[in-house]
């Protein structure tokens, strides 16, 4: 079986990056940046998730089909979020509509 064997060093590097991300997100949350707090928080979270998916979950060395399936989850998620928010965010824009 020819699954890619990643080096232990790489795993420790990814681990270190995940810890740094966690510390960073806690530190930034203790400072009031207004709406920027959410931006930083989510950017760090997505970066951490990406590191786990690419390296710990071996997608980095996976087949094209694995990339497509893993990616499709997030595509459907974006569709669900954008359609639902398109409704919620636009309520009350038209006079007389429900809020």
């Amino acid at each position: 079986m020819s699954g890619h064997v990643a080096s232990v060093k790489l795993y420790y590097a990814v681990f270190a990056a995940l810890i740094v991300g966690t510390v960073l997100t806690v530190l930034v949350a203790s400072v009031d940046l207004g709406p920027l707090n959410n931006v930083v928080m989510l950017t760090v979270a997505f970066t951490k998730a990406l590191l786990v998916i690419l390296f710990f979950m071996h997608v980095r060395w996976g087949s094209r089909l694995t990339w497509v399936i893993a990616g499709s989850g997030f595509v459907w998620l974006i569709i669900m979020f954008s359609l639902t928010l398109a409704d919620y965010m636009s309520r009350g824009w038209i006079q007389g509509s429900l809020r």
């Binding site: 079986m1 699954g3 795993y11 810890i19 959410n38 979020f81 928010l85």
Partner: protein, 245 residues
Amino acid sequence: MSNAHSEHYPGPIHQPPVHTDRRTDAHGHAGDHRKLQHHFDDLEQQLEASTLGMWTFLVTEIMFFGGLFLAYLVYRSSYPTGFQEASNHLNVIWGAVNTIVLIVSSLTMALAVRAAQTSAPPKIQVGWILATMALGSAFLGVKVIEYADKFKHHLVPGPNFVWEGKYPQAAEIFYSLYFCMTGLHALHMIIGLGMMTVIAIMAWKRQFDASWYTPVEVSGLYWHFVDIVWIFLFPLLYLIGYHYH
């Protein structure tokens, strides 16, 4: 109707199994590997199919948790200040400790898969799996402490919910989402621990080596996914009120 059908039913087709020498195991010898199922050409194809199967399941899991994250987003955008006030009552230290615990468990899981991939001795494989299980249990232990604290302080939504702050209704919605999201996540951790138990026994019985380690790989994917869910839950639940006093 049913009679006519049975008359024309040709019955099972008996064909002699076709043997070819095309298949070889990982060592290049003729004959099938003990773990190769007959409907796959080789072990590589078999691993690929299992990995894709797990990823397909994980896509449905992304949508499953996605619905809760969406509910969170909708309510938080309706009650931004109320959510901040409610979030302030969660213990950031416990949340951060649990985040670190889960990240370490993801590392030990990745190393458990690697141990199987490199045909490490069963002791080492089992060691990494047990380390992962210990960390997973530690996570759940912290969750028990936190939940007990919420019960004690009447922060469980329902008739006994008490909120001293300015936004009791928003706080109740926040804590409903908190219990749904972390509860579903904890359930996934418990299922993960069950999977790890099976994997640990298999590893102890010397089932895994470089030629075949599919169950470790696939369980690892699940474990990492559960970690990723927490990576989002921690900041969204614990940290939104951290600067709000």
